[in-house]
Every structure is written in C-alpha cells, then in structure tokens.
Assembly symmetry: C3
Homo-oligomer: 469 residues x 3
Amino acid sequence: MSTGAMTLLNDDRLFPADPTMRNIARRLHAEVRDLPLISPHGHTQAAWFASDQPFPDPAKLFVQPDHYIFRMLYSQGIALDDLEIGVEHLKDPRRVWRIFAQNYYLFRGTPTRIWLDYAFQELFGLEERLSAATADLYFDVISERLQTPEFRPRALYERFRLEVLATTDSPLDSLAAHQAIRDSGWKARIIPTFRPDSVVDPAFAGFAENIAKLGQLTGENTELWQGYIRALEKTRARFKALGCTSTDHGHPTALTADLAPAEAAKLFEAVLTDRADARQQELFRAQMLTEMARMSVEDGLVMQLHPGAFRNHNRKLYERYGRDVGADIPVITDYVHALHPLLNRFGNEKNFTLILFTLDETTYTRELAPLAGHYPCLRLGPPWWFHDSPEGMLRFREQVTETAGFYNTVGFNDDTRAFLSIPARHDVARRIDCVWLARLVAEHRLYEDEAVEVARDLAYNLVRKAYKL
Amino acid sequence: MSTGAMTLLNDDRLFPADPTMRNIARRLHAEVRDLPLISPHGHTQAAWFASDQPFPDPAKLFVQPDHYIFRMLYSQGIALDDLEIGVEHLKDPRRVWRIFAQNYYLFRGTPTRIWLDYAFQELFGLEERLSAATADLYFDVISERLQTPEFRPRALYERFRLEVLATTDSPLDSLAAHQAIRDSGWKARIIPTFRPDSVVDPAFAGFAENIAKLGQLTGENTELWQGYIRALEKTRARFKALGCTSTDHGHPTALTADLAPAEAAKLFEAVLTDRADARQQELFRAQMLTEMARMSVEDGLVMQLHPGAFRNHNRKLYERYGRDVGADIPVITDYVHALHPLLNRFGNEKNFTLILFTLDETTYTRELAPLAGHYPCLRLGPPWWFHDSPEGMLRFREQVTETAGFYNTVGFNDDTRAFLSIPARHDVARRIDCVWLARLVAEHRLYEDEAVEVARDLAYNLVRKAYKL
Amino acid sequence: MSTGAMTLLNDDRLFPADPTMRNIARRLHAEVRDLPLISPHGHTQAAWFASDQPFPDPAKLFVQPDHYIFRMLYSQGIALDDLEIGVEHLKDPRRVWRIFAQNYYLFRGTPTRIWLDYAFQELFGLEERLSAATADLYFDVISERLQTPEFRPRALYERFRLEVLATTDSPLDSLAAHQAIRDSGWKARIIPTFRPDSVVDPAFAGFAENIAKLGQLTGENTELWQGYIRALEKTRARFKALGCTSTDHGHPTALTADLAPAEAAKLFEAVLTDRADARQQELFRAQMLTEMARMSVEDGLVMQLHPGAFRNHNRKLYERYGRDVGADIPVITDYVHALHPLLNRFGNEKNFTLILFTLDETTYTRELAPLAGHYPCLRLGPPWWFHDSPEGMLRFREQVTETAGFYNTVGFNDDTRAFLSIPARHDVARRIDCVWLARLVAEHRLYEDEAVEVARDLAYNLVRKAYKL
C-alpha cells in the first residue's frame, strides 16, 4: 500500500490499469500532450489580462469563485458565511483556506480533486497532499508565488501555451478590456463571445432596462421589434470586430419557435411591457433562438446552445447570496421536438454551425448523436458542467461516437471561471480521449495510426474548425 | 474450461479480471469484509426474533416470499399456483423446490443467483450447483439444518454479526414484537422504522379505517387535521421510544407540496371523506411529505423517500394474489421540481436528513447527485430494488461520485424480506465498492490509503452517521 | 505503432484487452462462430432471391441504400445529390464511390466501419484500407466480383449459412416473390413478416386507399370495422401460408388501448373518413396494437413492436427525397403506462409473445427489463438501429441481464436492407455476447460451461424459440 506520495500527480493518471491499453494510451497522449491549448468557451475575465494585476490570496483564488468547491462543502453542513462567499474583501482568507483544507477529503473521486492537485503541483510545486496538516504550508506557498511576475495573468497565459482564449460577454458590455488588450500590443488572442441572455430572456433580472440600454448603446429604437433586432445585429458586428467568432445561449430549455414577423413583434411588445406569462416568455426565448440562428447564417458567428438547468433551486441561498451559489440543477431536456422549428428553417444551411450541449446525458444516444449524425449544421459540444469529468467524458465518447462519429464533435471546452485550472482541465480531456481511443485500438476497432490522427483532431484541429478560429 | 465446481463461491468473485485492479480490490476488501453488518432499512419481521421459532422448509423460506425469484419463473411461463404463491401452509414444498431447482439456470447473470449461492454455501455448506439433479439433496440438507438451534433467528442474527437491524412498520402496529425482544433481555439492536403509507396515502386500501384506528391508538380526534397531525407525532414518539431513528415513505412520485394550514386541513377532509380525485390524492401525499419533513426537523428522525414504482401493474395477478407479486414496475421519476416545495422549506435545516432513493437511474447524474452535492439535508440512498446488483451498484458509483462525492452517500441498505440473504447482499455491496475504489486507485485518481478509509466509511461509518445509529 | 495493416480484420476484434477475459471470449466465440445464421427480422427483398440477378455496382450496393452511410456524409456537408441518393440508375457510380472512399475516415469508431471492413475482406478479399488512394481498386474489384455466379443472391444466402431469412412485407403485397422462391424448388427458408403500418396507421400516406385495396385483395368490405378486421385476419392467414411466423409494428409510440367494439368501430369510421385529429389517430393506432395482440393469441403469430422514432425530422429533405433519408430521430418512449391496456388484456396469455424493441436506452433498466422479467408474454428484442453496435449491445446486456436474465431476450436481429452486411452484423453480435459472458466468467459470476450454453442460446436457440422457427 502506498502511504504518502512523493508527488500528487502520477504520469499515468486516468489511464486504464490494463497494460496493453495503458501503453497505447501513453503513446497517444505523447502525441497530444504538448499541443497548444485552445479555449473557445469559458468565463475568465478580459480585465485580468488588460490590467495584468496579481491574483489575490489562495482562498479568494480557489475557494470563493468555484461553486464546485463550496457547494460540496455546503452539502456537508459548512456555512457559506464561514467560507466568506459573496464577500468582496475576505476578512480571514487563511481561516477559509483551513476549513477547505481540512475538508479536502470530501473531494475524493471528484474532478475538482484532479484539477486542484494538478494546479498545486504543476503551478506551485506542492507535492504533499492538502489536509489540515498542510493547510498553512499551502497557504503560504501559494500566497508567495502569486506575488511573483511569473504568476501574473499574462505570464500564465503564455506559460499555459494558450493559443486562443474566449471570454463570455454581455451585449451591454463595452468590451473595453478586450479593446485595452488589443491596444496594449500584447500578442495574445483573447476574444469575446456574444452571450445575449440578459437581453433575450424576459425572465432575466432587469430585462426591460437591459433592452433600453441596448438601444442607447446601438442608437436603435429597441422599443420596437425591428429596432431591437437591428440593435442585436449591430452588437454582434461590434463583437466580431474584436475577434468574436461565436455566440452562446443559456436557455432553460432548448425550445425554438419560428413565428411570423408580425407575431414575433407582438410577442416582443408583450414581454417588454411585462404583460407576458411564463408560457409567452418561453415562446419569446424560443423565437429568439431562431432569430439568432438567422443572424448566424448571415454573419457567420457559430452558435452555442447550453440548455437544461433549473437555476437558483435553493431559494433561501438565492435571496441571500444571489446567482451561482451551486444550486443550479439539471432537468430532463428534449431536443428532438424543441429544435425542430429552428432546424426546419436553417438545419441545411451551409454557413451555419450550431453546437449543442446538454446536462441530460440520456439525450446522448437517443437524441443528440442521431441529430448531429444527420444535420450538417449540428455539432456536439463536449461534456458540460457536472459531466466535465473523467467518467462524464468517457460516457460521452462511449455513447456518442458510434452514431455521430468523432467528426461531429468539437474538441474540448474548459468552460471555467478558474483560470488556473485551465491546463488541468485540458489535461483531463486529452487523457480521457486517449483512453477511449486506446480501447478502440486494443480491441482492433481502429488502427493506431488512425487513433493518433483522431487524438490530434480532438485535442486541436476540431475546435479550430468548429469555432472558426 | 471449468466443468464442475468444488465450491459455489470463488474468493475473487465480482473482482475485475485485470490483475492490478484485482489485487487492489482484494486488499481493500480484506479491510472491510469482517466489519459488523448494519441493516438500517429492511423488511424482516421483529416477530421472528421475539418468538425465535425455526424457519420452515426451503420452499417457504426461499421461494415463496421472494418476488425476485417467482417473478422470473412466472416470466418464463411457470404458474404461480404451481409455486404455491399466496398459500399459507405449502401442500407440497418439495415439488415447489424442484420446479425452482430445475429452472435455476434462468437466474444466470442475476444478483439472485449470487445471493442464493452465497446462502447455500456459507449457511448450508452446499457446494454442488443447484439443478434438477441436486434439488432433493438441497431440500433435505436445508430442511434438516433449519431444525437445528444454530438456524434459529437469534442465532443467525449473531452469526451474521449484525449490529443493528431495522424493520419497517406501520403506525398501526403495536410494536409488541419489538417490545417483547427488549423485554426478553436478549442483547440485540432490532429497531422499528416508521412507515406511514397506510395513513398518509388516500389510495391505500382502507385509508379512512386506518385513520380511525390511528385515532384510537393515540387518543386523538383524527377526523380533524390537527388531531391527525398530533396522532402522527405521538406515534413517531412511540416508535422513537423503541429505538426507531428513521421514517420511510414509499410514494408513487417524489412530489411535495407546501400548502397553507387551512388549505391542508380542507384537503385532509376531502381525502378522508373520499371526495378527492386522483390529483388531490397526489397533492395530499405531497403535502404529507412536507409535514413529515417538518416533524423530522423537530424530532430528529431521519427521513427516507422511495418513489417511482407503478404498483400492481398486472391487474389479473393483483386481483388473484394481491400486492407484491412482482408486478411493480419503475417509471420516470422527477426530483428537481417535485422536491422543490419541501426543500424550499427545510432544505437548509441543520437537524434534518432526507435520504433519496430511485428506481430511475437516469436521475443519478442529472438530478440526484447535483441535489445531494448541494443541499445539506440530502443524502443518496444506495441502489434500490432492481438496481441492488453488481452492475447497478457500479453504475451508481460511476455516475454519482464525481458530483456528489462519497460522503453524500449513506452506505448499504439490504432492503430485504429474505433474512438469510442479508450477509450475501452486504458481501456484494462491499465487494463492488472495493471494485470501484480499486479502479480509482489503479488509475491514480485516489491513493490507496484514502481508498481504505473510504471503503471502511462506505461499509460501516457512513450508515451509522446517516441513520443516527 | 501499427502503420499499415496486412488485413482489415483482426481475429480478436471487439474482444477486451485483458488477457484473461480475451482468452475466455475466444473460447466462447469458438463455440458459436460457425453456428448457422437466423435472420428473423430484416429488410432484404424476396425479389432478389426470386430473380437471382447479380447485384449492381459498389455505389448502388453499399452507399445508396444505406442511410447509416449517407446520413454521416450528409452531416459533414456532402450533398445527397452528389451521392445520387434517390436516383434509380446512377449516372456516375465511380464518382459516388470516390466521395465515399475519401470520407471513409468519418466512420472511425462506428459500427458501419466494422460491418463494411468485414464485407470488404471476407466477401471481396480486400485487405488494404478504403481511402481516396484505394477507391478505384475497391470499385474495380467489387464490380468484377459482383458479376460472378458466387455473388448472386442465392449463392450468397448459402455461403452465409443462413437457415432462415425473414423479409418485411406490406399486407398489400401479393408476396409473389415469396411464392416464386417456393415454386422454384430452391431449398431456402425465406419467409415474409406481416407489417401492417400502411393499413393501421391513419397518418400513413394513402391510408384510405390502402384500406380500399385491402378490401379488394381480401373480398371484405373494409369500409366497416368488422370487414376491416376480417380482412386483416385473412391477410395474416395468407402470410402464414407462406411461412410467416411474426408480425411487426413500427408505431411512433408504444401506446395501446382497449376500447369497446362499438367505440373502436366509430373511431375506425372517423379515421377512415379523415375526420380524426392527431389524438384520435394515435388512439386508433393504440387500439390496433391490441387488436393485433388478440389476433396473435388466436393465430400464434409472434408480435414485434418497434416504437419511438420521430420520422422525417428534416422536412426539406423529406420533401425532396421522401422517407428513409436518415432523418428519423429517437424520442423519449414510455412502455409502462403505454402497454398497460394491452397487457391487462393479454399479458398472461399462454399463446402470445410480444417482443419489445426500443430506441430509448433509458428504458432498459427502468421499464423493459422489469416488464420482461415479469410478464410471460414479453421478450426483449436486441439493441435496435442506432444501438445495434458494440457499445450499444454491451449496454443492453449490462443493463438488462440482472433483472430480466438472458432467457427473456431473443437473440439477434440484423434488421438490415444491406444483404451483404448480414454476416458482419451477426459476427459483431456473437462477439459482444461472448465479451459480456467472458466478463461474468472472469469475475466468477458464471461458470464457463454455463457461459458456453448461454452463448449458444443467444446465438441460435433463443431466436428459434422466440420466433417459433
């Protein structure tokens, strides 16, 4: 029995125990481990790179922004106030860190553990396991390193060998930070993503005010349907000018609609003046997906759809701490009927890519792989959110490949707010894809030279192509 | 090819073929195989231990009460009458046993085969396979042993190293058998579980009579909502006094409601006087789950919810043989919307534990793991009923761990009517947990010393903690 | 790394890498690989065997009729016109073949690749991989061989060691080709299957005309319910006379109904005169499933139900190319409630077999295995359509066996239009069943001599029994 590791990470981590498969996986992984990273979808902040200020202390960096971490601690009875969730300037970051460290065992068997150990060892040189006993050591080492130039955001971007990094941005965002990065002359490709939820979802807080602000920003009369549509088109063009290649849509369901223009205009008036019930609000969101698809056909922006979360399920926490405190829960999601109106309009268009994500894994074999294995516009996004994990990724490949193949998928999205976890997440994705390919090779379903090609496509080429990067 | 086993059980049963994983699994299993058994949820009878009478013949013991067995025989065209299902005193138990024995091949690949072979060998010393050829040998050996003192219920309890055994009991039960065990001075911990379906489900046979009887037992006026609620509270207290630490709720769905008291009172009147339609009956069950949660917050009883079965699907068999003849079939189950009212009320309470079970495995990654990975009151019960099997348990760990971790699960429930199968069922659960952990260790996702700790927690500590034992 | 295979097929293909399991799988497979093929459900044409004309060129043979192939090509932007889909006499089959060949990499990881490589090597002796470089070689070799006597349909039937081959036929079909085969004196067992969708589904194109034609063929007044029912009964008898042992039903859902005769008659009148809405049409289909079950109880024909596809999802392609262009997409399917009316009537009948298929794998553990593990009339068909693949078959066994056992399943269906792929498909099924059994043996859940018996049952005996062949 191993009783105290010299290092946190084993070179063979995530590879199968079987020696034949492990050896194949190692060889495949050697072909992709050093490829540059492309991060086409995530939630880092352009402002970090514009200002290039040091990241703060370990608690603020690792614990506070990461709902994977604090929801698990909360599920075991640790109060969010003890973790200083929602606090702008932490009063006692060392205390928060110690609580986290002594409960680190809760993350056994989770991807969070894998991501964190990677960051601890690869970035901070820590090789003893995090626990109550090593909490202070970790806190001190990480705090110290964060003050060095090598840990500034731009230095890390380069160290991570990032080739493209996409942020996610509101149409109401001036994108000043993106402009500032460009103006600074720094040679990095950090690009915005057009995420219009705040101006297309009538249930979004401040919807009417957001629409009004959109009007001001674009010089359009957004009280009328036509002006509203033009304002969205203009904003997409503004995003494109700063390098944006894709849009992202986080709807409760995948419902789409294809209303006649007059009907859409009337519905817009109803939702804008708050006379629409929940069903009409849903119909409006549905119509807006089809409008967005139409704009994508015209301006070429790749469309991403992320449906299926019941947001803010824990009402008391929402009232006290607001959004994103770990109480978003997946629900059953239908794609076949829901996407039909949109696909009937644009499903066969040449200049259109719609990347589908899901929180409902039952749709992999039943709906998503058959849809993506037919419609030329459809591609399948990688396992998302709760499923962005070794088992989740394996299930994705096992369930999707036989119907959709590899070439209707789009490589990896790290989708993270945690900048320091980006290399760890890509490392997991590349390893798991190699595990899946190694099994196909070992079982004589694929030749190894083909598997090398596929591994490189999954790690690098497919994402470039799918996101038009 | 092996052509005739010396023994029914191999020491490495259920362990993976890969030598690395198998060796790790063996080491982990050695750490947990001799831990005492805790059985916090099951359907054995306290009366067996109160009277300590010998169990009857093999057919009555193994075939007649076990719907896993006779539903499989029935599915292949064997008449229930030929198995003497529903017959109080079997006319020809040897004939029933022979039918079972000659059809034992039907159980290949099922957990029933694993449980039975374990009991045959470990309890009765049988080492030849059961078949038409060995039917009489089995019948004779088992019959003979059952008459010996070592096979009395109390002797078996001790032999099984049971530390706690919970039965499942109606609020209308006097619990006289439980009292008798206590009075006898026998040092065993056999405790009741409060299962109120008969007095909270308006569709339960004799609902109104049951409510009246509840009133008599508690001295409350159960024709009125307040008296009914007090009667339930008093009965819970009566159960607690005999060691009860948990309640159990077997509803068709997981629906909960949170009505205003006046509305609840009115609904109670409607269901009691049989003026409620199916929708109102469902709403009443939903309301009662929230009432039970409120009582749990107050009295500390752990709450278990077992939803999702379409009961008595085969109408003809139900009319002829009554409940539990193997025709209960799982249905799609929603938790996210269904539990929302209850969780909004009590989801963040300190003194509340709600253990969720499912017959719909699609909810593991989509709903149950995300819910349990957030709400402090929620824990996930082990794979249940059809899923209490090697593959079912592996799917549970594979699908639940990455989001909910190990520490939001509660160890094993044998949930059985078949007392003699209890050690076999725990043996399977401990082996499969070791298999899962061995894979994590072999793939360098967990250190082996951590896996030992987790294995012991899953086999022993978590169940004690979750059920407050 | 292997860089250029001598052969396309490895003898160990699909077997697990682990040496213990692989060796067991090899031994089991040796016991079944040479058993005759039984194909109880498929879409080959009796006319091929009646006329025994050579198959045309490679493009017409492999690409044009196989929606698995052209939907994948279409999903990657290749126009159906470039593949000459829907064209009776291909203008440039070599060009079509070249497009297919240069895109053959898209099928990596799919069953299509496995089936094709098998046919290429085993039937045509091709051992270099198909690619742009080998496209012409393939085209020439295949074209040449197809003109030889050994590649005539009857010669291939014999070479494939087919023992029974069932086609799928409309009640309006004269079955002249089946009669011609019989009259020819050729000793093969090619039998029809009664597939009445065109005369029981009011949404089927030409429904009323079909009913009228049915009346002409049978001499019954099919404008009236009783005459319509008699016409169906007579047609079933006509099919039986030509060897038919089963019926097949391809409904959108599994809904069944059990209306009173007068109500059914009235509903028939409504659907026949096109006064029925979608709900009534669905109710009529539901009623007809129960009518078919009743006829099966009487005439002994085995009933197959294939529900759960959203047909012709891509409206533009449907309008241009008609049915079966790869845009049929699975949807969530319920069996528990849907089959209840039919099972309440006939679920316990001795002379009744209903074989259930699904496109919704979530029903395996939740609904289908529990239903088949109880009702004597029910059997589970093999993984179907998108799930007829190595991973799909493994999931089926992993998810179904523990509850339904092996003996409530019915062996393999190749379900293919592609006659040349039949041996390849059976080869995959036999291998995967051996893989699953090898795992059970290696993990000491089953003795190897039992596994041999089960392997032979799955490959040969169960299908004969289930389909009454």
